[in-house]
Symmetry: D3
């Protein structure tokens, strides 16, 4: 099976970091197909940046359609997730959604720990869209922001604070399981599991495992309901692959 | 006051129809500044199209920033609404949100009537994001879809069915007030109020009146919270006005 | 347009204070018609007082019916709001509801800051009745109550504390926008917007602007649903104007 | 124990009917003290009438305070319930609330059957205020309204229809238990239990039993929280007993 | 009336303590029939222990069926409550549910204070199953656990801490009424009511009073809905009385 | 990896049917370890039967502990799920929960289709415990019950009706994805995917794939929170393996 591991950020170092974090978990027959956004932002961290990147996600999938068995959108916040499900017949996984749904099979309540306050709102949206607010204990972030140059080194510079925040999420917020959010923290969960009192979930790992599961489950594409393909629609000024996908014949039914 | 009346669709006839529908309601000192998307879709009707159009909305506002006092995003579903609020300091109004919040001051429960099943999911998202599901009685659409060529004539061809659906929303679904959704139906509510038993809300009218209200209320832009401006961020391949807005100096604080 | 600006409290100094606070925001063609309760309490601050005052609100509207285009019930907590909508065909606005619905177009989550613990429960009711608990971050009040003689001077004596509480609502409770509740605080929001980090809403101002918006929207009165006029009903011992309104012919249908 | 059995309607025949319905259920040592409103409406059936009657309820309790051990507000919809709890130290029971809380110990989901559409909204408020919407299957009313002169004979004229509606509530709406709402239906539940497939609850019976239970439980009056007595407050134009209660010394603390 | 007062724990000292706590509240004609589990745990304090004990509850009721008028399951958490309602035609009361439903007639929001963190999750389940999370302010437990040998003396060793926690529940969590959870705390509420500012509910007392109320209400057993008796079912290896109850003829319908 | 595929029913033919349904989906290195309950019911179909079976599930896991890497509780309704998570350190998967969480990554709203009304309540509990009611469109069952002897042939006798019910779930209830509930329907989903318009999920398949995913994810066992192992507890009369598990030393911490 081939998984499009789609980084909607333009930073290839993030793609590499995330791909390294997930590879040890893949089934032997799974091939990871990493892709980095050619336009957009080095690191999405607001709703506006996510909204802009949603189109980019749709374009990137269009470019790989037919060549992969599923897609993992590897940015916490899952830009373009529902739209991609509408347009494409293969499983589309968002790492935030996958982490949340995995957490719900592990504990009653889950918390999120991440490294920057800026992204909190964007993260809350993921929980609300999943309608799981009742099981959510909140986001915890370090009181001091990461050094501005420091996305690449945030695991080192903020590591101890993050471990403490997991404990706060458990002790104060009553989380049973904690999701470690944010692409720069890919791989961090595995390194700290001995230092924390509850399971910690790495969204990118949850994402690829969820994608493998859905591919093996082999569900049909919907012909009705919220994710049935919308009728073909002409467009102006869209990237060609995406314009074709939206405007072309709907072969799903043939 | 100048209101950017932003049609995220590329159809100028829709812009004209909507602008005509709202003009009679404007205060004498309000100037409507209609704008039609230069790229995108003739008529957005799915989540994917809305996601693509969200970027376009952000770009269009960037082009008019400094020249208008508020923005009305004139497409039910409000593409880019929350992101625009994050990026811009003037009031940003979505016509779906404005219609919903207006309905909540008129009845306990509101329904939506529109002309096409395809858009239902997109509409439901607006209600859920507002967290008002508990006051929502559902979407009602004609059992027969509009003729494919017929967006421009849908008020005539489906008018009687839509009036009946308002009655169904009231009698069966227990709505106290009904929102008439969809840009091609702009102006329709005013023409049928004598034929229906409850108030009917035209979202574009609610939108411009909400925008006027917010401009006159004169609230400050937030420096903290979900809509505080995110830190400046470099980008690749974005339209210049938007790239500048996202990447430029944050003058709000100065 | 003529707005009945109805103060359900018996204190004319509160009426004056609130009227002064809203006048700068009114459209040039709007005439404010202030009215002060002839019986009831100097300043409503509990559920029981509000319940008693609900009848008084209904009576006061009955006395002005036919002479005004809309009503603003100018007491946070909105006594008699839903009942008034049932009995009268013109728009009825409650300042709490208007503030809440306005806040929802400005931020994801709103908080309330006020000057007295006693009213908290009454305020929570307004949020719950609007079904917006999921977007509410709570009420914040000064730890020290206002001096008993001090309703008229509460803006001065508690001003600094209230500004701090807005910051607590934002920083601790995660509010994106804050409503300043309580008639004695009318006008306070406008004086502190430079000292706080988020938009602050003055309910009486939101109330009159909401009323203007609804008048201009020009919705029909409902003939069905929760706010359809109930059948005429005889009564014993009610104030004459109200008895007539409840017991008289239902001219809405004629 | 003495229970004030307070009918907020002015109809003594309703008081008699309800008192007859509950007497067989009372403990031997319980004395029922029926009271009929001296002013107000023959039969409350709208929110506005309930709002007017809330004051009347507060007054009636003031007149009996010190002479009874608990109060049962015997009108479905519970006018003045929360306010009365705030003002008085003895248990205050509303028959709608008591019926709902009793139903929740009998089935997962409860429905309401009553005889008139007009009261539906008022009934829904009782469920929402209890925050039990998730367990509520809705109100069912006869498609034909009761004959206008027929409140007193509604059990006979609509009896068969009401039995059928209980079945609809069970079979279609999935109710496990049904509340028979409306004072004119007092005593009806007991007469039809052999004709229906689920338990049927008579709110006035549930009300008096709840009141007995609370008296025997003997809880203290609250000194803090939502029902702590508000500070004494002067008033203008209120009935003397109520004015004294609200404005007098707060002896609860002494 | 005879009430089976069923202690699912194997500790007879707990049964005695709880029976002593409730006896002063019983009606003169009520006979308490205490029963202690013959197998299971000395004191249930986790979900797993509760799950194991649910079967035991069902067995114990089977042994007393026909001999009692109602059952009170006297362990906070109510093991087997819903199942017992399904199998038996007499009222089945759980002390947690009864305490919660009683609290809802006394305050807007209720909290729980108990003596051990271990049981918190199990307690939360009771609130969630009642669908009353919106009125729940949380569980408060002493920061120091009870001495391991100390279940029998927990009222003495932790009493002062528990009184402080009631105050925290009121002041910090905004509870209007507090439930004192846990069998070893039976009788504690009555001893501290003068030291706390809000009503405190003893679940076993609420349980027996609720059971008396339901017996006197005399509702029929359901023939449809969630608690209709399931069809007879053969079984292997169950205690004989329970196997008979589940597998025997369904005489309820005869 | 070895998965304990635990059938809490005593019917080995059901175990075989379910094992056959899931085997084609397993990873090559996964070994299925089927186990059938030695006591209990041929086929659990009520809450009471599920409550009795919860203990049996805990016992069966105790007997296999140390010998398997994860457990799949293969009865829709997930008896003992949360308790098992509390007692055991390996992943415990319930097929209902797994199906629900999988459905949430495929559609906005999910429905359930099954073959018998009796189990509906039990199924609803699974959705409520997951707190996903807002995404649930309800249970659909054939209007005619299965022939009493017919559990083994229900796929044949009711197949066409079930396909129609999937369509009803989609068209009327607005489900985007449908779960086919009930052990006798294992394998049915795969046979009808060409006859239905939305993805259909087989809970036992979702269950084993979820278990594989969780094993590969390799989360640590919790030391705090809702699923931390409770302190060792003595017991009377429990099956030896379970008594040891509950009462033995807590080696998880060593």
């Amino acid at each position: 099976m081939r998984l499009l591991f789609l980084n909607p950020n333009t930073s290839t170092s993030l793609t590499d970091r995330m791909a390294s974090a997930v590879r040890p978990y893949l089934a032997p027959t799974t091939e990871l197909v990493p892709a980095t956004a050619a336009r957009g932002f080095p690191y999405i961290s607001s709703r506006a940046e996510a909204d802009v990147s949603a189109s980019i996600v749709l374009e990137m999938i269009a470019e790989h359609e037919g060549d992969v068995d599923a897609v993992v959108v590897a940015a916490f916040g899952d830009p373009g997730l529902y739209s991609a499900r509408e347009l494409y017949d293969i499983p589309i996984v968002g790492v935030a959604e996958a982490a949340i749904l995995t957490a719900c099979a592990v504990g009653d309540r889950f918390g999120i720990v991440t490294f920057s306050q800026v992204m909190s709102t964007w993260y809350l949206d993921s929980v609300s869209r999943a309608r799981l607010d009742a099981r959510f204990t909140g986001v915890r972030v370090p009181s001091q922001p990461a050094p501005p140059s420091g996305i690449d080194t945030v695991q080192e510079t903020l590591g101890d604070q993050l471990v403490e925040l997991v404990d706060t999420a458990v002790t104060t917020d009553k989380a049973d399981v904690v999701i470690i959010g944010g692409a720069p923290l890919a791989g961090f969960a595995a390194t700290v599991e001995d230092r924390v009192a509850v399971p910690v979930i790495d969204p990118v790992v949850a994402g690829v495992l969820y994608a493998e599961m859905l591919v093996r489950l082999g569900l049909s594409a919907p012909l009705k309901g919220a994710y049935a393909r919308p009728p073909a629609k002409p467009s102006i000024g869209l990237p060609p692959a995406l314009a074709r996908r939206i405007g072309g014949p709907i072969d799903r039914l043939s």
